[in-house]
């Protein structure tokens, strides 16, 4: 597939970009935040009736402030609240501010730290096989029969 274009944007222009796209017949499709060890940015996607899209990349930082586009596109309000809650980016001028209660994660700003990949401990095949090996010559252990007359532990008055 052809590589996609992400136009660079700056904070002071983001509302103007939204207004310009609205005038050109675009609507707000989605926005999301990306945080890597080396950078953090917000992607805005606008789409038209013919399914064509325009995308913008805005550098951002946790505890930084970005003007909200919810005054232009009300649809952006949930996305901005989500980014604010999960990444700690503040959006100024939000049409509806959930004040951190949209998801109410146990850990605040849960997506703001980049996770460390889980390193799997290699399992030695022979050792694993030894543990689960069944000795067919040894008879199965006899289990005590269940006494149906005796009540189960903790039950009954």
């Amino acid at each position: 597939m052809d590589p996609q274009v992400f136009f660079p944007a700056v904070k002071t222009e983001v509302v103007e970009i939204a207004q310009r796209n609205k005038a050109l017949g675009y609507r707000f499709a989605q926005m999301h935040c990306v945080k890597t060890p080396s950078e953090m940015f917000i992607i805005y996607t606008f789409e038209k009736l013919d399914l064509s899209i325009e995308q913008y990349r805005l550098p951002a930082e946790t505890d930084g402030a970005v003007p909200s586009v919810s005054g232009v596109f009300l649809a952006a309000v949930l996305y901005e609240n989500e980014i604010s809650e999960l990444y700690g980016v503040e959006f100024t001028g939000l049409a509806l501010d959930f004040a951190g209660t949209l998801y109410e994660t146990a850990k605040p700003r849960a997506f703001a730290e980049v996770a460390t990949p889980v390193k799997k401990t290699p399992v030695k095949k022979a050792a694993a096989a030894e543990k689960t090996k069944v000795d067919l010559k040894k008879p199965a252990e006899e289990k005590a029969p269940i006494n149906l007359k005796k009540p189960a532990d903790g039950g009954g008055n």
Partner: protein, 359 residues
């Protein structure tokens, strides 16, 4: 001005398949505002992508939701394939389209049943879910699962379906078509259904477009946007047009979903007729490096998938924008002005999938 009361709706409610909370602001019986509250089943699945091998993540992404699971899996692998420049075999594209449309039939029948239950038509609900069982049986036969299928992988598919099985399934789908017709007649023509749904929750064409509505919620207002027209998988070779209605009310959304079931059955017939031979997977080497945003048409509407790789087997980011997330704001727009008793129908009219919304 009447006295204002706040009535909570959800998160547990008989009509809600998943938890969603609305604080309904009422003046007498009329609703004047609604404030949503979600987050009951937020699992942070997008965050998990940083810690899991990108090949394994396909199994996690399709577990975002049980109803939309196939297309979530397809969206994920399609995005990663675009990042890596992988071209999958033609047969895999057709099978993905086939299973995608089968998901659409399954999802719409499920929703029609829930909607019937919401307006008190229990026998109609049971008939819809009875017919749905045939669709789930097809899933089980072809993929091994009724809810989670695990057939999509980066590079194609894990499973193939032979020609004889496909032809026999074609016959089953004709039976499904016959079974749905009397139910569709009830949804489209029954007096009690019309009385309940016509004129309820009207969303105009301009409102639907500007508020970001997607899927049947958008098309029922007369906007012909369908992400399948982008031509992903085999859709570029299949003949179909977006199903639209103009009234923008609950009845129009029912009509769109009923007609989309027939459209999906026709698309599956085309897939079976045009299915090419050959393999269903290609070998994938290396790790994703780069970013891509792809869009697919879930039964509920356009879903957006964004993936960013850094050359290792762990992705930097995977983002899923689900259709219900986009339809929540239009829902808040259509609720004011309606009666309290209409809220369950309105909540269901967007076909809410809260598991998808919160991920």
């Amino acid at each position: 001005m009447g006295e204002r009361t706040i009535i909570p709706f959800g998160p547990q409610h008989p009509v809600l398949p998943e938890p969603l909370h609305l604080d309904l602001i009422l003046e007498d019986e009329k609703i004047v505002g609604a404030v949503p509250s979600i987050g009951f089943i937020h699992r942070g699945l997008e965050k998990l992508v940083e810690k899991r091998d990108f090949q394994e993540m396909a199994f996690v992404i399709e577990r975002i939701c049980g109803i939309c699971s196939f297309i979530h899996g397809q969206g994920y692998v399609q995005t990663i394939e675009a990042v890596m420049g992988v071209e999958i075999p033609e047969r895999a594209k057709y099978l993905r389209s086939f299973w995608g449309e089968l998901s659409r039939v399954h999802s719409h029948l499920l929703w029609l049943g829930l909607m019937a239950d919401a307006f008190g038509f229990e026998s109609l609900f049971m008939h819809c879910w009875r017919v749905r069982e045939k669709v789930l049986d097809i899933f089980e036969e072809t993929t091994g699962g009724r809810v989670i299928f695990s057939v999509c992988k980066v590079g194609g598919l894990w499973k193939n379906v032979d020609g004889d099985t496909l032809r026999r399934i074609g016959g089953v789908l004709k039976d499904v078509d016959k079974d749905i017709r009397p139910l569709a007649d009830v949804f489209m023509r029954d007096y009690t259904v019309q009385k309940r749904c016509v004129g309820l929750g009207v969303l105009t064409k301009e409102e639907a477009f500007q508020l970001g509505a997607v899927g049947p919620m958008l098309r029922a207002s007369g906007v012909a946007m369908d992400a399948r027209k982008l031509g992903y998988a085999a859709y570029g070779n299949l003949e179909f047009e977006p199903v639209t209605e103009n009234a923008g009310d609950c009845q129009a959304r029912i009509a769109v979903r009923v007609r989309e079931i027939y459209q999906a059955l026709d698309i599956m017939r085309q897939c079976i007729e045009k299915m090419p031979g050959g393999e269903v997977a290609t070998t994938v080497k290396g790790n994703p490096q780069g970013e891509y945003l792809s869009r697919l048409e879930q039964p509920r509407g356009e879903a957006v998938y964004y993936g960013k790789g850094n050359g290792t087997k762990y992705l930097d980011r995977f983002r899923v924008r689900t259709p219900t997330f986009a339809n929540l704001i239009p829902l808040l727009h259509i609720i004011p002005g309606c009666d309290l008793a209409d809220v369950p129908l309105l909540a269901l009219t967007i076909d809410p999938c809260i598991s998808c919304t919160e991920r």
